[in-house]
Subunit: 392 residues, 2 copies
């Protein structure tokens, strides 16, 4: 099988191009890589309108715009097409019309991670790897375990010692092999990388490491375009390193390139105020993100200090600038407050990290960033049930 | 607002017809009620093909075939369109081609109950009730709490004393009022009924009590028709009292009436072998279901002995006969075995009750009920994460 529509893996920093293969870093400068496409060939074979009209799972519907062979059935659990809903109660409370939620908790393993992992396991099958490996403490691990099970590929997950039993049980049920690593997530990250290297297993670890996986996040843009019937003014996304935000924006740029839309949305990155390396850099108008010293927040899913890969944060920062976007820090108190408001007003039970995307709207209004009449979509990235303990 | 397409609430036992209103029992004989429609009027205004072509949530897409006013926006959290997937690993293991899963865990509150509760709360708004009430220990309670929050209607849930903290937390997060009742589910059922009567609140309790709610289950049939592109030979559904099975079959009968299909699927009801009142009646070719003495199974979601409403079981039994269907008991050991197989082979983590729909296929094959070449769809009714404790 061949990845026929792919041009290259291009370094986002120095521009050097590589043949599509299992690769995570630029040969020249060590920078992170991005999949580039031969869009003319793609749209010669299938029009964007044809793709947008398909009713299959999102990865299958948009497979020609993803690093998936045309003659391959993608590894899918039926991900995507999560609901976009008007948030009437929030609109009243915030005295702002046109607030929407895109509820990614309605996915097979209850988070947006199903998009990149469906693509990652499809690519793993194409490359005929004998196993996949990831470091994770949460959503990525659960999604990796489930999609590996569907693909019939062994999955090895490294978790930091002390990861809650519930999360381990969720990964174990799908048959993943789990190893606890002394230390924190960064230590697990290193061990996973070493194993991937040694065994030539495919490394699915989040952040921007795997250039293929994050392409799956683009499908969020295609769906939003269809469901919103156009382009919302603002899209608010909780960010750790920020691949969802960057890839969602890439998806909109592809829609613009194909002539479907003429304007682009403005992207908003949200972080917990006690772990906000990208927000801090944005607020200080810097051109590089510095790691955060001591993360301290209940929003575990985005509590990434970017210790060993601050340049991933910089990549997200550049998208914020490019999209004329914005960045917002949210306090734990506001997360607790908005978790309740979102559940009781909109019927959506979101995990603490996800709630930041809604809490941020209040700040955007207070700061004057969000003008009257502008529409805003908050992306709810994961289900609250996965972190029920924080509630009990 | 008027329920313009509704003909009546008709008694399923004596045929007596009533004006659509808040009503749970036949005035003449006390039997359970069913919504009947003026199909000619419906299809004069909108064709079935038009409905099938819509991309909205399932309740909105099929609103004209539900007890929802045409000029009302249904109460929705984006339910439905759950994935239908080929189960290749199970096919190999059971040496039978054409096995599919319809994964209802991919719904906003992680179970099929989102379908009936979306309809129930839409109807509650139409009748302008001041509150809703339900007895529940599980999926119904969580869905009722979430959809009530979205509808902005107070929700009172009666649970038996000793209901696990996790399930109470899930209902509480949406702002429902929860009261523990001394005794078991039947006691909670009685108290909920009394409160509904006294306060004139809408009673959402599962089983066949609320004639409007269960109409939402028909959407499963419309989706299956579209996703399967026709009619599968067998549809396997875990049953307590069995409203999902009965309403799904009603949906297929509507499709046949509208000329979209010429044959009907054969319906299979599955129960845990230590709480199997309907299966027992089917196996003994009886025409009435008797309550079960002492339920004893890990499949909590379908462990309904039908103590105070065995006639609800009889209604389901009649559908099994009408559809030339089948009934299967499943042991707890097989539930545990298939929970693992389903997660590790297909990437689907299902609650114990749901797993019975897959385990049943083995029995159908062994009994000679399922012939070679026949297709079978197992409906996975709820997510395993809701019952993680049984795993830990």
């Amino acid at each position: 099988m061949k990845l026929v529509y792919l041009n290259s893996l291009q370094c986002v920093w120095c521009g050097h191009e590589h043949q599509p293969s299992i690769k995570y870093k630029c040969d020249q400068c060590g920078g992170s890589l991005e999949v580039t496409y031969d869009y003319d060939s793609i749209f010669q074979n299938v029009s964007l309108d044809q793709m947008l009209g398909r009713r299959e799972d999102t990865i299958t519907a948009f497979r020609e715009l993803l690093p998936i062979c045309p003659d391959m059935k993608p590894v899918s659990l039926g991900e995507g097409w999560s609901p976009l809903q008007r948030a009437s109660e929030l609109e009243q409370r915030l005295e702002h019309q046109q607030i929407y939620t895109k509820n990614e908790a309605v996915n097979p393993t209850l988070s947006f991670k199903d998009r990149p992992l469906a693509v990652a396991l499809s690519v793993a099958k194409q490359f005929n790897v004998s196993g996949v490996v990831t470091a994770s403490t949460g959503n990525t691990g659960v999604a990796a375990a489930a999609y590996s099970a569907k693909a019939g590929i062994p999955c090895h997950i490294y978790v930091p010692k002390g990861t809650p039993k519930e999360k381990l049980a969720m990964m174990e049920v799908y048959g993943a092999i789990i190893d606890e690593v002394e230390g924190n997530f960064s230590d697990a990250y290193v061990v996973a990388g070493e194993e991937a290297e040694k065994k030539q297993w495919f490394n699915l670890t989040s952040t921007f490491l795997n250039p293929y996986a994050i392409e799956g996040d683009k499908t969020l843009a295609y769906e939003l375009y269809l469901q919103y019937d156009g382009v919302p003014d603002w899209i608010v996304i909780p960010i750790g390193a920020g691949p969802l935000l960057v890839s969602c924006f890439k998806g909109f740029k592809e829609l613009k390139r194909a002539g479907k839309i003429s304007k682009l949305p403005r992207m908003v990155g949200v972080q917990a105020e006690n772990c906000a390396p990208i927000v801090r850099a944005f607020q200080e108008s810097r051109d590089h993100v510095q790691p955060w010293d001591k993360p301290d927040t209940i929003a575990g899913g985005i509590a990434d200090p970017l210790t060993s890969y601050p340049e991933d944060g910089t990549r997200t920062l550049m998208t914020l600038y490019e999209s004329k976007g914005y960045a917002v820090p949210v306090s734990d108190d506001n997360i607790r407050k908005y978790q309740k408001l979102l559940a009781q007003g909109e019927g959506i039970f979101a995990e603490p990290s996800s709630v930041t995307a809604v809490a941020a709207i209040e700040s955007m209004k207070n700061d004057g960033a969000l003008a009257e009449g502008e529409s805003v979509v908050s992306v709810i990235t994961g289900h609250g049930l996965k972190d029920l303990k924080s509630l009990l």
